[in-house]
Each structure stands twice: as structure tokens, then as C-alpha cells.
């Protein structure tokens, strides 16, 4: 430090290095402390807890064990894992299939219209996701709006069971996550060079071939970002499952929630969380290896 100060430096900027370093350190401090205390430390504790033993009445005995992880393999939970994968899988697939054409449309129109469409898309969720979601209970129940209309039109004799099943859960999940999934797909479609598509067409490829060989591969980072943005929260959103699944079907999110409320088994809840986190880190790792940018997940 001392030595660098003695070096000759350009006029007009005395002691630049030291002051600059100080400013940088001051700017870094809040986020460093925040990340250390509220992100890194909690995750370390989570990992630590997952190896502890559950004591009586929800207490924790600090004797290391692998039982919590063995417990996850218990066939009782196989259904929960299967249910989570089915719901998250359907939601993600449908969200991408429904969202991609919408993203394409938003990228196609004038920039004023596209920002208006984006605002309109997010608006219903600003208010209160839960209250709007509850509308699906009103819409889908046996004497609900959809069933009433279909029966009045004599299209149905018996009401369709639309609520309290996987269909309702998936509809609710799509509703919650599609707006967020559209954004990264939109930004990657917008970045696409239209010249490439014309070139493909000029060279004799039809619209389907152009889409499969040019458009889709070039917009795949956006699609993958959308997959992550749908699949991950979908597994953890226990409220949607509770509200529209009627509390009969459990997902991993519900199971974790129960370990901290009804069952009071923190170590098992921690182990479930760690497994979930590891799976998701693998997904994100693949995403970044495929050339995806983490920043696309936040905007």
C-alpha cells in the first residue's frame, strides 16, 4: 500500500487508488454483509440442520444423522414427489407453449404497444395474487360460473369436476407464472436478427423449418430462463395447491411447510429443502453452461 503511494501519478488526481479502494469497499459493504448474514449463513444452517436428529415435541438434538435423507426415500413420500413433478411438469410445458406465441406477439408490435401489453400482463398480479386466484374457486366449482353456463346451454347434464384436482392447480399455476415466463422469452425473441429469418426463407426453408432450425435455437436461452422461472416457484407454491387442490394433494412445498407447522420436524424439513435446492442448482448450472445469463431471470 505504502509503496504504491510513492509511485509517480498523473496530476490532478492525488491518492486515487486509496480513495477509490475505500469508496469501493464502502459501496460493497452493505450487500456483502446482507448476503453473508441473510443468504449464506441461513443456507449453511439449513444444511447443518438437515443432518441433526429430531427430538421430542419438535425440539432438535444435535447428534448428526443421515436419517432425514433416508426418510425422503420412504415410499410414503414418493407420491408427493411424483405429484410435484406432474404438476410442475404440466405447468411448465403449458406455460412455455402458451407463452411463446404471446412473447412473439409482444416482440412483433411497436415498442409503445409492447410496453403497454407487458404492463397489462403484470397488472392482475400486482393487486393480490391470492385474491385473484380465489376467483378460480368461484369460476370452477360445481355450481360455479363455468359449470352453470355449460349446464344452462344444455351442453352438460352433470357439473364437471373442475375444482380440487390437478387441472385446477395447473390452471392456477399457469396464471401465476405465465406473465413472468413471457418476459425472458420476449427479450430473446426481440434480440433475434430478422435478417436471419429472411435469409432462411430466401434459401428455401419453409416457415416450419425456419422456426425449428433458426428461431427456436436462437431463442432457446429465453425459453430455458422461462422454464426455470416456472418450474422452480411452482414446486414451492403451497398456497395454490392448498386453494385449488383442496388440501388433498400434497406437493414438496406443502410437505416442507408442514414440517414447520403441523409436524414440527425441522431436520426433515431442512433435508427436504436441501434436496430441492440441490436439484435446482443443477438446473441453473445446466442453464448457465448452455450459455444462459442469470440476469435474465430477474428482469
Amino acid at each position: 500500500m505504502k509503496k504504491s503511494e510513492e509511485k509517480p501519478r498523473p496530476k490532478g488526481r492525488p491518492k486515487k487508488t486509496r480513495r477509490e479502494r475505500m469508496t469501493t469497499l464502502i459501496m460493497q459493504a452493505p450487500m456483502t454483509i446482507w448476503a453473508a448474514l441473510f443468504i449464506i449463513a441461513p443456507f449453511c444452517l439449513l444444511a447443518f440442520m438437515s443432518f441433526m436428529t429430531k427430538g421430542p415435541l419438535g425440539s432438535i438434538q444435535y447428534t448428526p444423522t443421515l436419517d432425514n435423507y433416508k426418510e425422503i426415500l420412504n415410499p410414503v413420500y414418493a407420491d408427493v414427489i411424483k405429484q410435484s413433478l406432474v404438476v410442475a411438469g404440466w405447468t411448465t410445458t403449458l406455460t412455455i407453449l402458451m407463452g411463446y406465441p404471446l412473447a412473439g406477439f409482444i416482440a412483433k408490435v411497436k415498442s409503445k404497444t409492447s410496453s403497454l401489453l407487458t404492463i397489462l400482463l403484470m397488472l392482475p398480479l400486482w393487486v393480490s395474487g391470492l385474491v385473484v386466484l380465489y376467483s378460480f374457486v368461484i369460476l370452477l366449482n360445481n355450481s360455479g360460473i363455468i359449470n352453470t353456463i355449460l349446464m344452462k346451454l344444455h351442453l352438460l347434464k352433470e357439473p364437471l369436476a373442475l375444482l380440487y384436482n390437478n387441472f385446477a392447480i395447473v390452471v392456477g399455476m399457469i396464471y401465476m407464472f405465465l406473465p413472468f415466463a413471457v418476459l425472458p422469452m420476449y427479450s430473446s425473441i426481440e434480440k433475434l436478427d430478422p435478417g436471419l429469418i429472411e435469409a432462411s426463407k430466401d434459401l428455401g426453408a419453409g416457415p416450419v423449418k425456419t422456426f425449428c432450425k433458426v428461431t427456436l435455437p436462437l431463442t432457446s436461452p429465453g425459453v430455458f430462463a422461462a422454464i426455470i422461472l416456472t418450474f422452480i416457484p411452482c414446486i414451492g407454491y403451497y398456497m395454490v395447491t392448498d386453494m385449488l387442490g383442496g388440501g388433498t394433494s400434497l406437493m414438496i412445498g406443502n410437505l416442507i411447510y408442514r414440517q414447520f407447522t403441523i409436524s414440527r420436524n425441522w431436520p426433515f424439513g431442512a433435508a427436504l429443502s436441501v434436496v430441492l435446492a440441490v436439484i435446482i442448482f443443477l438446473m441453473v448450472f445446466i442453464y448457465t453452461k448452455l450459455g444462459g445469463d442469470l440476469d435474465d431471470l430477474g428482469a
Binding site: M31, T32, W34, L46, V131, I232, Y238, A270, F281, D295
Partner: protein, 273 residues
């Protein structure tokens, strides 16, 4: 050409249908705020009594106040910490810097419940009492990456020579920061703050894990009512919030429109400079 027109028409219809899917539940929400039935699952009759009840409902407004207070505090913390972090870590490339910046992304890529559980356990084992401060910390933690990312992307797009010019002309770091850097990254800070505010208003999972017995936020209240049916009064409140948000959007668009018109007019005039 005709084929293209048909495809365009289909595309438009599809988008319209999708927006119908998005706004049908909102329409139902508004309609059922005028429902006479308290269980609010089936339509019974028209009334405005829930709006009257809402006006005098000090408990619900108290809950709403708590929710807004948490959202405001969260927005302030997330904006300050995220902006400072984005500026501070702009040029850092060390291992430790990588660890900090990468861990900032955790809250977006990890399901909320995992973060909620982790924070809940650390507050419990360290003896930090749950309640509004804990909720604000939790909400700030999930909102932080959004501010960090939006600000960072503005910083990356910034012309570095402007900052250098300011320093060369004798301005110190602090002056340059407040007069050059921050004005340029302001749109990033604003959109990050906006994101943080709206996320925090609707946050349920982290909040319910970190709340003490005396703290209730609006999403928590709604969730607790879910089993018995959400009262139309909540629909009325949500309708009011929705109307206010729409008004904000309309005002924003109007101001933006006026600005564009002014800019076009200004461009037509010969330049005095």
C-alpha cells in the same frame, strides 16, 4: 400474402383469448365484491355494503397499513443495498466477490419456501425475535437480486468515459457518484424498486414464516380466510387497489404521451444551441 394475413389474424385472436384468460378472474373478483353472500362462492345478489363496511373497517385498514409499511421499508432497503452493491461490485473479479454476487442470485433461483425455512431457522436459533423487522429483512432478501440485476444492467450499458471525464476534470468520487453515475442508472433503480415494492406487497411465504403472533399482512389474512371463503370485503379492497393501479398506469401513459408530443414538437423547432 393472404396466408400471412390469416396467420396474423389468428395470432391476434390467440393473444386476445390469452388476455381474456388473464382478465376473466379479475372481472370475477370485481363482480363478486358486490355479492350479498358472505361465503362468496356463489352469486346471490347485488349490494354495495362491503364497500361501506370496508370504509369503517379499522382492522382491515390496519392490516393494509402493515402490508404497505413492510413494502415501503423493503423497497428502501433493497434499493439502497442493491444499488450500492451493483456499483461496488462492478469491477470486482476476486473469488470472494464472486461468492457474494452469486449468492445474491440465490433468492430468485431457490423456491421461496426454502429461503423462508432457512431464515426462520436462523432467526430462531440466533434469538432474533420474529415480527416486522424480521419480515422486512426476509422481504428485502428476496427483492435484493431484482434491484441488483436491473441496476447492474444499467451500469454495464453506461459509457465509462463520462465517469472518467468527471474525475479528470477534478470532481471527486463522491461528487461523480451523485452527479454522474446515479442519474444515469436511475431508470434501473426505479424499475428495481418498483419490482421490490410489488413483490413485497404480495409476499406470503416468507412473511408468514417470519411473522409473530401480532403481525398480519393482507396476503396472510386472505390465506387464512381461504378455507371458509374469502369475504367480499377483501374483494372490495382488492378492487380499490386494482383501480388505483390502473389509474397509476393511465397517468404514467398520459405523462409519457405528453412528453413524446413535446419531444416531437421540440425537434421540429430549429436548435438554438
Amino acid at each position: 400474402m393472404k396466408k400471412k394475413k390469416i396467420i396474423n389474424g389468428l395470432h391476434k385472436t390467440y393473444v386476445l383469448l390469452l388476455f381474456l384468460f388473464f382478465y376473466a378472474p379479475v372481472a370475477v373478483m370485481i363482480l363478486f365484491s358486490f355479492n350479498t353472500s358472505k361465503a362468496n362462492v356463489v352469486w346471490q345478489g347485488f349490494t354495495t355494503k362491503w364497500y361501506l363496511k370496508l370504509m369503517g373497517d379499522s382492522e382491515l385498514w390496519g392490516i393494509f397499513g402493515t402490508t404497505v409499511l413492510i413494502a415501503v421499508l423493503t423497497t428502501i432497503f433493497a434499493s439502497v443495498v442493491g444499488t450500492m452493491g451493483a456499483i461496488g461490485y462492478k469491477k470486482s473479479k476476486g473469488k470472494l466477490a464472486k461468492l457474494i454476487t452469486n449468492s445474491t442470485y440465490f433468492p430468485i433461483v431457490i423456491p421461496e419456501i426454502v429461503l423462508a425455512v432457512a431464515l426462520f431457522m436462523i432467526f430462531n436459533t440466533s434469538g432474533f425475535s420474529l415480527g416486522i423487522p424480521a419480515i422486512v429483512i426476509g422481504n428485502t432478501t428476496i427483492c435484493l437480486p431484482y434491484v441488483y440485476i436491473t441496476v447492474k444492467s444499467r451500469l454495464v450499458g453506461m459509457e465509462p468515459s463520462i465517469e472518467e471525464a468527471s474525475l479528470d476534470l477534478g470532481a471527486d468520487r463522491i461528487y461523480t457518484l451523485f452527479h454522474i453515475t446515479i442519474p444515469q442508472i436511475m431508470p434501473g433503480i426505479v424499475s428495481g424498486a418498483f419490482m421490490a415494492f410489488s413483490l413485497s406487497l404480495d409476499e406470503l411465504i416468507i412473511t408468514s414464516f417470519l411473522a409473530d403472533a401480532g403481525t398480519t399482512t393482507l396476503p396472510m389474512k386472505v390465506y387464512s380466510m381461504m378455507k371458509k371463503g374469502i369475504s367480499p370485503e377483501i374483494n372490495a379492497l382488492a378492487t380499490v387497489i386494482f383501480t388505483v393501479s390502473i389509474l397509476c398506469v393511465v397517468i404514467y401513459l398520459a405523462v409519457d404521451g405528453i412528453r413524446t408530443i413535446k419531444a416531437v414538437k421540440a425537434r421540429k423547432k430549429p436548435r438554438d444551441l
